[in-house]
Symmetry: C2
Subunit: 234 residues, 2 copies
DNA sequence: GTGTGATTTTTGTTGCAACATAATCTTGCA
DNA sequence: TGCAAGATTATGTTGCAACAAAAATCACAC
């Protein structure tokens, strides 16, 4: 499980609300691609689906909208957004700036056991790819990145990066094969770990930026193919 | 009034909710320093204060918490956060990354009349400073920055930057004199406008980064004085 | 005075009904 | 067949009461 550091400061609310549970479930569905772009979400349907009243369901939807994982398509219509090429580029630029920063700062605070954990995570990525378990590969890839970003001890930064991943994930995680394409990112990940081991912050940043750019190219290509094949219903 | 582009994509919900009004009012109070760090906000008090029921008041508080403008200090206690030196540095690093990016991209899309508008805004800043109207100076300063950031046409980026300003503003906008100190940022702003006029994206980024760093030094100094003078009640 | 435990008050969350309005369906006409 | 207007359904928002839990207050012993 990724951090779930959803609140910027330490969340002193110990007992999770019902709305949080709903939020997590929708988030999970979005990440797993259970809802594709254009799918409509309603308060009542969600409430009945999860066996809660409308208040927590409404809370969860509002929260997702605020984070950009859902958008209004009309005054009473929230949908999973279509991420067009322009939005994808924008979010990628933000990722480069923010994840690059995180990677750089992480190099200064990394420990030996941190690197060991990263190595294990990378092994899980490789194994999943070898066995064509793309969903698992994607998940471990996420773990790898956030394990690095967590190192720098910047909660605001971490929370912001998470929302960016969610915005992209909602639209693109149904593209496992293309996204996780053969040995996705393995070279960049190795370079990142080397940089961390040597305390070379510039190298870590470069490796992460390269990883993001590689992923961007794949996503852009996938988006082009998708939009050319079937005309988008919007 | 600043954009209020609170929703990432174009907000198709035309009729604003009651909760939005509450949200805007609290945001306004925070920016104006009407609530200092440590102040407690309760749903019922807010609701009665603004003459609405608890639902919109609760919505507004939750939204502010999600944006980091308020934080939980306990399971049932939301307060205006104390921004310590570390958090201030973190947010400054994020601002450098994100506003630097926005400034750079703005240079490629700026028009002549955009620059004219910026010039007018700068005149308002100068006038306000000359007359010691620090609150107005701060407001116009904000307008200046966001007028630039809006140019790049990146709604996700703009929304994220806004939340960063809000997080800092809640803790530091009660420091007008120190913050708006003699001709605050006028040199950097001139450099930014020159860079925009010449389409020199690097120069614009450098000017904005310099402006952010100057502001950071002032805030850090003010914070040091404040925390040394009176022991913080936390 | 000071700390500790019980008691009272306050508070966030949840469920739910009412309301206004937007989305959707139906019907009629060209 | 296409489309426009009216009727119907569905939906988000709001207000409010109930509940559990936390915070604040108070009492009392030391």
């Amino acid at each position: 499980m990724i951090t779930s550091t959803q609140f910027v400061a330490e969340d002193d609310r110990q007992q999770p609300r019902l709305g949080d549970r709903v939020y997590q479930q929708i988030k999970e569905r979005l990440i797993r691609g259970a809802h594709g772009p254009g799918d409509k979400l309603t308060v009542r349907a969600l409430a009945e689906d999860l066996g809660v009243s409308s208040t927590p369901a409404r809370d969860a939807i509002n929260r997702l909208v605020l984070e950009g994982a859902l958008v209004y398509a009309g005054p009473k219509t929230v949908i999973v957004p279509f991420l067009d090429a322009q939005a994808l580029e924008e979010i990628t630029l933000m990722r480069l700036a923010l994840e690059g920063l995180a990677a750089e700062k992480a190099a200064a605070r990394v420990s030996g056991e941190d690197i060991d954990l990263l190595r294990e995570t990378q092994l899980r990525i490789n194994a999943a790819l070898d066995q064509r378990r793309y969903a698992d590969a994607l998940w471990s890839n996420k773990e790898f990145h956030f394990a690095i970003y967590r190192l720098c001890g910047m909660p605001h930064l971490l929370a912001t990066i998470e929302t960016l991943w969610l915005r992209i994930g909602a639209s693109f995680n149904d593209l496992y094969p293309e996204f996780a394409e053969a040995k996705y990112g393995v070279h960049n990940h190795m370079a990142a770990m080397e940089g961390l081991a040597e305390g070379d912050s510039g190298a870590v940043r470069a490796a992460i930026e390269s990883d993001i750019r590689d992923g961007y190219r794949r996503l852009k290509r996938a988006d082009r193919e998708r939009t050319s094949a079937q005309t988008r219903p919007d």
